[in-house]
Amino acid sequence: MVDAPRNETLIGSDVSIKGEMAFDGSMRIEGKIEGKIVSKGKIAFGQGAQVVAEVQVGEAKIEGTFKGNIVAATRIELASTAHVLGDVRSTKLVIMEGATFVGNCHVTPDALKATSEFVTPVAATPIKK
């Protein structure tokens, strides 16, 4: 079992989620996710993670299997165990030797200016009373 830092949400390897997720802060996923993830925080997909999703986050680190498109405001990092199929868009990209990546890559300092779909996360929207 992977130990998460105190302020990090951990989705364990025996968890399977289908749907839309939003969070503040940081999250580490070791399980199976299918759907959409929106946040301004950090997300890390662990080595055992199996994700099929559209992701819009602040920073992303991938160590497991990921299928879908990722938009990250600051940085995307693919570890040597990463297995990514999909498009990435960010301002910084790091790929370790050994990572598998098939997809379009758009990494420029103003990459996110062109994406109008980088929306405010659901959790950060004030609730009207």
């Binding site: 297995h83 199929l85 301002t91 910084k92 990209l93 790091v94 790929i95 370790m96 030797e97 050994g98 990572a99 598998t100 990546f101 098939v102 997809g103 379009n104 890559c105 758009h106 990494v107 420029t108 300092p109």
Partner: protein
């Protein structure tokens, strides 16, 4: 005492034909396509624009180098410089900090230290062929609609 010359195996960047050459060989003729093959390593430290940069050696682009060409090489290293054009490598592609690549990258291994300028399609990694086969299988499984079933645009309007 016999002195054995050091030899190396090279592959033609055009037709993939293999041949063994001496380590000091700078260029040779391909036994497959009978065209000239550059076998030496190439280092770019200035502006260089050409149609193709095909070599059976390594291509290195230095910090002040800008290479505008279709690159095919045994390995590619960008040390902070820039490549504009598609990059295909038989070996690893390494992009060091500050490197820029505007073009598709195809390589069995890709390592990017930290880059802010990469635009193009990337096919890299030991399991890339597996992923491409998966995409092709998905395309075959979902055939396009039969031409007879789609209504004529004029009739719809």
């Amino acid at each position: 005492m016999s002195k054995e010359a050091a030899r190396r195996l090279i592959f033609c960047p055009r037709c993939d034909a293999r041949q063994e050459v001496s380590k000091v060989t700078k260029s040779t003729s391909c036994p497959g396509c009978h065209r000239n093959i550059l076998t030496s390593d190439v280092e770019i430290n200035e502006y260089c624009a050409k149609i193709e940069m095909w070599t059976a050696g390594a291509v290195t682009v230095g910090k002040k180098g800008t290479l505008i060409a279709e690159v095919r090489a045994e390995s590619v290293v960008v040390k902070g410089g820039e490549i504009k054009g598609p990059v295909t490598s038989r070996g690893p592609v390494t992009l060091e900090k500050g490197s820029k690549v505007f073009g598709n990258i195809t390589a069995p291994s890709l390592s990017i230290v930290e880059s802010q300028h990469i635009v193009g399609m990337i096919v890299a990694g030991p399991r890339a062929a597996e992923l491409i086969a998966e995409i092709e299988a998905a395309v075959v499984a979902k055939p396009p609609p039969a031409p007879g079933k789609t209504p004529h645009p004029a009739k719809v309007a």
